[in-house]
């Protein structure tokens, strides 16, 4: 009885091996799903579901072995970072484990170290030569006691090439009104939030137990950032700001619903040390192409803001909620994508009564480290419906982006916890 079972077992293994020649290796690209995982992509591209139902998947990194770490907004079974392995090389993750009992958004991998954030701390985990975490229970605490309000509390992270880590600290307010989000309430003079939030802070990537006193406010006047990346071409930080909400709801005499659905722009900023993007005093109007004084600070929708504030490198329609930014440095996609930016838009809520927009991944080509000014929708269909009136209608919402060792693009979704992998298989 044992022998036939054993032979059957060996036969099955051989059969499986025969039908899966890439097992354990990544030489051949995996087959994409027949329906491209429900996504609409440019011709020549395909997609597959690499993982599903893992929790509220936020930012993601891919190791050189092709395994994934994904940060969850909320831990599932006390695991806030999910580790996914593709043992047989078919592109679908077949082994899942996890660690880190804290929710958060930020995740970054550089030089054998995994960096992860809760909503008020940043940790680092040493990795072994296979990019596996050595001690899941005792990460080094790099930064703590960061300001965490109820709004915009997530901390995204990225490293430069000089040993620094950058952390966004979101403003816990819409527009620094005396009474937040209250119609007609004026802005607080010298907005006090900016001392400890509403900007990007720089810390040392290898120093323990840092807080505000150890870091520097690298850039200010940035309301909230979720998507950010380091541009290797010009060695500079780029961030995507979530612009202010409710111009019509708070100032109905100055903005009608249509204008309020489009304004202000969601801005891609190239950030240099000391920059000020002007929140809450100004917002960027993509039609007038300038910073406009906020109505909370004496603006009327036309008055131009102070020239001390920087302009965006690229401006998108309002409220689309950019949650992921990735500069593509791979070779798999056609040449035009090289060094350009992918941006994952989580999708709007603040366009009512107009239909909601976003819920897609955009591509913006770059030349010599700067955007050319064009952009296009690259991957759409995450919402699973043609029209999203209310954000709850969206079945999936794109959030994090990462590039695989083979140049594939990974996109997370924080509604159902799907991880998409997009490949180019055209000629």
């Amino acid at each position: 009885m044992i022998i036939p079972l054993l032979s059957a077992g060996i036969f099955c293994s051989l059969y499986a091996f025969k039908n899966n020649p890439s097992a354990g290796r990544q030489h051949r690209p995996p087959k994409t799903d027949a329906d491209n995982a429900g996504l609409k992509l440019p011709s020549g591209f395909g997609a597959l579901v690499a993982a599903d139902s893992i929790g509220k998947a936020r930012h993601i990194v891919v190791t050189k072995e092709g395994n994934l770490y994904v940060k969850l907004a909320k831990p599932v079974k006390e695991k806030g970072i999910i580790y996914l392995q593709d043992k047989n090389g078919d592109g679908r993750m077949d082994e899942q484990s996890g660690f880190g009992n804290y929710g958060g958004t930020g995740l970054y991998l550089k030089d054998g170290v995994l960096y992860a954030s809760s909503n008020d701390e940043v940790f680092s985990y040493q990795l072994n030569e296979k990019n596996e975490v050595l001690d899941q229970h005792n990460p080094a605490k790099l930064i703590s006691k960061l300001k965490k309000g109820r709004q915009h509390d997530t901390k995204s992270i990225v490293l430069d090439n000089s040993g620094n880590i950058y952390v966004n600290i979101g403003a816990y307010s819409n527009s620094c009104q005396q009474k937040d989000r209250t119609p007609g309430s004026p802005g607080i003079k010298g907005c006090p939030i900016l001392d400890s939030a509403g900007g990007i802070w720089q810390f040392k990537a290898n120093k323990l137990n840092q807080s505000y006193g150890d870091g520097i406010r690298y850039a200010t006047g940035i309301r909230n950032v979720v998507g950010l990346d380091w541009n290797q071409q010009n060695n500079t930080l780029f961030v995507m700001q979530h612009g202010r909400d409710q111009l019509n709801g708070l100032w109905p005499d100055l903005y009608d619903e249509k204008r309020s659905a489009l304004l202000p722009a969601e801005c891609l900023y190239m950030i240099k040390k000391g920059d000020n993007a002007g929140w809450p005093y100004v917002y960027y109007d993509q039609y007038q192409k300038k910073n406009i004084q906020a109505p909370e600070y004496g603006g009327d929708g036309k008055k131009e803001g102070s020239k001390e504030y920087i302009n965006p490198a690229l401006a998108f329609p309002g409220h689309l909620a950019p949650n992921g930014l990735l500069f593509y440095t791979g070779n798999q996609f056609p040449e035009k994508y090289r060094n350009g930016a992918f941006i994952a838009f989580h999708g709007s809520w603040n366009r009512t009564p107009e239909k909601q927009e976003g819920f897609y991944v955009v591509f913006a080509p770059f030349k010599d480290g700067m955007p050319t000014g064009e952009w296009e929708i690259f991957a759409d269909g995450f919402a699973g419906t043609d029209q999203v009136m209310s954000p709850r209608d969206a079945k999936h919402r794109p959030c994090g982006l990462a590039q695989g060792p083979d140049g594939s693009l990974y996109v997370t979704d924080d509604v159902k916890g799907t991880v998409y992998r997009i490949l180019y298989n055209g000629k």
């Binding site: 109820r150 709004q151 119609p183 009512t352 009136m389 209310s390």
Partner: protein, 144 residues
Amino acid sequence: MKKFLLTILFILPLALFVQAQKSGKAISSPAAARDQLLEGKKVYSKFCASCHQLDGGGVPNLNPPLSKTIYVLGDKSRLIRIILNGSNESLEIDGETYSNPMPQLDILKDQEIADVLTYIRNSFGNKAAAVTAPEVKALRSKKK
């Protein structure tokens, strides 16, 4: 002429009564000649819909839903106070938390608050007793 006026005086209240019956839905008082749900919807569209959405579904993680929650269907006084005072406390519904603050909307008149609360208590799958202007007034004066 006198007879005509008398007829009008007789028919007009009757017509108003019938109209109220037709459109009042959950509102039982025949005296509610004005359509409280319709008035409430106008206030909702202007002050509430951008955050809580036209379908009352709210926005995941940000703005709480209004359908079938204890906050909307439960104690009227608590609901009225949320409008009069605003709220910036952590809020959990069905295991989900919501982070945006509720602004203080005491700029609304007693009747507007009564209308909009009656509207949300009888929309989005909800069914609960109407809120009246005197109920709002009583809580507003207590606050001062």
